[in-house]
Amino acid sequence: MKKLRDRAAELLSQGVVSLVIGYEEGTKRPRPLFCRNSESAEKLIFDSRCFHNLAVYITKKELVGKERFAVTAPISTLRSIMQLYVENQLSEEKLLVLTVDLSGELREFTTFDEIAAYVAQFELKRGEREQGILSKIEAMDRAERWKFWMEEMSHCFKCYACRSACPLCYCSKCVVEVNRPQWINPWPAPLANMEWHINRAMHMVGRCTACGACGDACPVGIPIDLITRKMMEDMAPEFGYVPGQPAKQGNALSSWKLDDREQFIR
């Protein structure tokens, strides 16, 4: 942690970066910290409680500005950063990534290849919570799943916290704001909610890195992160991509293989 603070302060004081996005102690749990001078770098922390996905801030031009900036990133965030890079949202010369590896060593990435190589060592596993709920859902039959989700969705009041928390929801105009035609109604209603979440899942196919930010952000605790996670788990092997790794041939839905398997087309 000391190393991280020092390095951050150094980067700022030397003017290597104009901003370091990291974590500081919050009331209940760590919260994002935006250091613009070496003093504030003293407040930086980085531990297992720091899972808030900071990648969400780095596509916000008004926030990061034109200069180079640094971000402290746990694995989940690193994966998001990789995906953002694949989607042409980041450029190497502007970004500097700091992380503390398992041995407590400070690591510094200046290229996406380094990040990809580092991330590759960690596999995406279901946590207890995910395993718990997903195994429950997987055990249900179709009608039960529908009931389950309708029940869950009925709590959704369309605050769009999921959208704001997701680093990959960086569209300047979201589909719910598109009104010619109005594909999905923006207000909370059973159908509008269902459509919104199905739409989210589809938009995340081949992109979601299962960081869990959306579920974490949901004020009414709908396990929406599991929808996109499950899709990721099912589609990644199907279409042969690895979340958080550069996709040479393009996104899962913008590319295809002659031998894509399917049994439902008559």
Partner: protein, 154 residues
């Protein structure tokens, strides 16, 4: 499931212009008869068919949906149908995860030469959906705050 004969399913078909639309034309020129329940919406290519349109169909009271285009390797645009295939693979599993009744979406490849296949496809799908009955489950959800909501005339 019991097939209730008095129920006439509403089915909407999304087809590509070059294969299935032409195939359906051939069904006509060969005077093959099929059920009136299906109405065709024409697209340049299956690659153009937005998954939201399928959702909207159900929301608007469709009991079933047909999506059909060129056979693999026959796409007028060489790969539109391959993109579509992937999209449907993903879409199906999303819907299945959410508990939407995916038996109500029938995907198919119908070439411009398969007029009879089109007739069979329509008839079979109509029979299947009739057996499944109306998709009330979804429409119930739709009938709340929605009707007045959608797409004000701009």
């Amino acid at each position: 499931m019991s097939s209730n004969t008095d129920f006439e399913p509403k089915i909407i078909a999304f087809v590509c212009n070059w294969c299935t639309y032409a195939g359906a034309d051939l069904t006509g020129t060969s005077r093959l008869k099929y059920a009136t329940n299906v109405k065709i919406v024409r697209f340049p290519c299956t690659g153009r068919i937005d998954f939201l349109l399928l959702l909207k169909s159900f929301a608007q009271g469709a009991d079933g949906v047909i999506v059909s285009g060129c056979h693999p390797n026959d796409c007028h645009y060489t790969s539109g149908n391959f993109h579509a295939r992937r999209r449907w693979i993903a879409f199906r599993s999303v819907l299945d995860l959410m508990g939407v009744d995916i038996r109500r979406i029938q995907y198919s490849w119908v070439s411009a030469a398969e007029g009879s296949k089109w007739a069979d496809l329509v008839n079979n799908t109509v029979a299947d959906i009739r057996a499944l009955g109306p998709y009330a489950e979804y429409q119930k959800v739709a009938d709340y705050l929605e009707k007045e909501g959608y797409n004000e005339e701009a």
